[in-house]
Symmetry: C2
Subunit: 328 residues, 2 copies
């Protein structure tokens, strides 16, 4: 198993990526890790160098503020683009990047390439749920306007991912909608519903936004626009409530004391809501495995993304998706 890591992507790169890569290479001897990036900038963090870790020097970097399509087209020697090219040319089966999300999706489309039969690859992060298990939501931002057939493919890919990578048997797949009854929704969801019913998956019907956090499904299917509204509303509301809570807790000596007494519980609460803790988000529907780590990923998060990629490869995720799509 060969995994390319975009060493220059993310707020804490290359320290985070190098440390994560070294730790992963040490733990999994059967996996070849290729660090793709600027050698001179990686060197200070490369105190150890396991034999299954190799370097691939690149001279360019895609920055967080770069315009995705332009950056991917022009910066041919960017670490992210080179890692993507390694998948296309068979030098790696998977890549991990904590860099610019738009650029990574563009790299997926233009460099790695779509899987045959897939119209639109989808970004599939986890959304937090009260039971701590999370729900895989897709598409979360790769495609703003979807057709019913795209949602059908998302459902199939999401279900396979949960099964193969997270070990969920018969994942419950829900369709994000404005009501639970069939027939509810906009033109897109009304037409997608019967298509989801036809799939060999465990389709549990429409799911309302207010129920998502209650863990009523394992996979949530939506177009990129609605998914963005959902995810950012959850993020915004949680953030707003935490700041209100902080304000209320600091009103008097009494409330400050109460806050101190509650500190471990409040931290616990915050971690449940922190969807960053759920690991990297796969970009599904490409001819290889691409995992997006959070921009603020540290070494441990990068190592976790390697773990995730390994499980996906061991369980032949990409081949399974390809078989299901072509078998249709």
């Amino acid at each position: 198993m060969r995994i390319a890591i975009d060493a220059m992507g993310g707020d804490n790169a290359p320290q985070s990526t190098v440390e994560g890569a070294v730790a992963a290479a040490q733990e999994w001897k059967d996996t070849e890790i290729i660090l793709v990036g600027d050698q001179s900038r990686m060197a200070p963090f490369l105190k150890e160098r396991p034999s299954n870790l190799t370097l691939r020097h690149t001279s360019e970097i895609i920055e967080a503020e770069d315009e995705p399509v332009k950056a991917v087209r022009r910066k041919k020697d960017a670490s992210m683009v080179v890692a993507g090219r390694m998948i296309r040319e068979g030098e790696a089966e998977a890549m991990i990047s904590a860099g610019n999300t738009g650029a990574l999706m563009t790299t997926g489309l233009l460099v790695v390439g779509r899987m045959q039969g897939i119209e639109r690859p989808a970004l599939a992060p986890m959304i937090p749920t009260l039971d701590g298990k999370g729900v895989l939501a897709l598409d979360l931002g790769a495609n703003m306007d979807s057709k019913p057939e795209h949602l059908q493919q998302y459902a199939l890919m999401g279900s396979l991912y949960r099964e193969k990578v997270h070990g969920v048997s018969k994942p419950r797949v829900g369709l994000l909608n404005v009501g639970t009854e069939p027939g509810k929704g906009n033109e897109l969801t009304k037409h997608a519903y019967p298509l989801l019913e036809q799939l060999p998956i465990h389709f549990v019907g429409n799911v309302e936004a207010r129920d998502v956090m209650n863990g009523v499904c394992d996979v949530l299917v939506c177009d990129g626009f609605a998914g963005n509204i959902l995810l950012k509303s959850i993020e915004g509301t949680a953030g707003a409530l935490f700041s209100l809570l902080k304000e209320q807790f600091s009103q008097s000596l009494k409330t400050k004391l109460a806050a101190a007494m509650m500190m471990p519980q409040l931290k616990n609460l915050k971690s449940i809501m922190d969807y960053k803790e759920h690991g990297g988000a796969p970009l599904l529907g490409l001819s290889g495995l691409v995992v997006k780590s959070h921009g603020s990923a540290d070494g441990n998060a990068i190592k976790n993304a390697v773990r995730q990629a390994r499980v996906a490869m061991q369980n032949r995720l990409v081949e399974s998706i390809s078989n299901e799509i072509s078998g249709k």
Copy 2:
């Protein structure tokens, strides 16, 4: 000013509606209140009867679980439908109902009738913000699939409502979107953006879901599908966090003590998040004023809806919208 109240709509009707109507009639002698409903069921709560309060007997009721279009078409003598007909026939200028939301929107469309030049009336509730002022969001559920021109009309109507009814000068109007830069979004929002720029309103550009609660705009424009996802995500996340908080607070004697110390602050927090407290939601774009009160409205909420309707009428809201729309 004549306001018809659907006395039979809502979880607490007719007690809530009768009590609210009596209180409103007592406070505002210049306003004629017409209670529309079953006389024998209203009677027990009608201990007083101000001279500006009249009754209009109806024999049917639209229930919460009724299918909206069917119910409005078949139950010709339902309290909600009769109240709508009173607007159409000039017997009242406004109506208030805490009943079935779908049926009320249908009553608005089929009985009250659209304002000339308006393609789609919109439901415009308030969404809570951290500063306690709230943001008027439309459309929230009346229309699942919108065209850019509909969003343009929502923007105009929402801006006028905030100005005329809430006294906000130059309301900041934002477009719900997936990024703040112009050019972001799906086909709908990309095409709506330049149309909103053309309006004689204070358009502040795209607003991301995560910023809505920070009070970055006074009016938020969106299609009914995205609006529903936004509102229900906020509701669901707040509900989830409060239940997590409750769980964390009840873990031990120490945390229970902390909870007791924090009780006034926690109640305060809950009330900020409770968008029900922001009064009734207008259904804008009809030939008369229709206000939707929350299903769980009590007498006080009904009285507040009357207050809201009075202000709208005093400031000639419906005429202002009509003038702006026809002047285009």
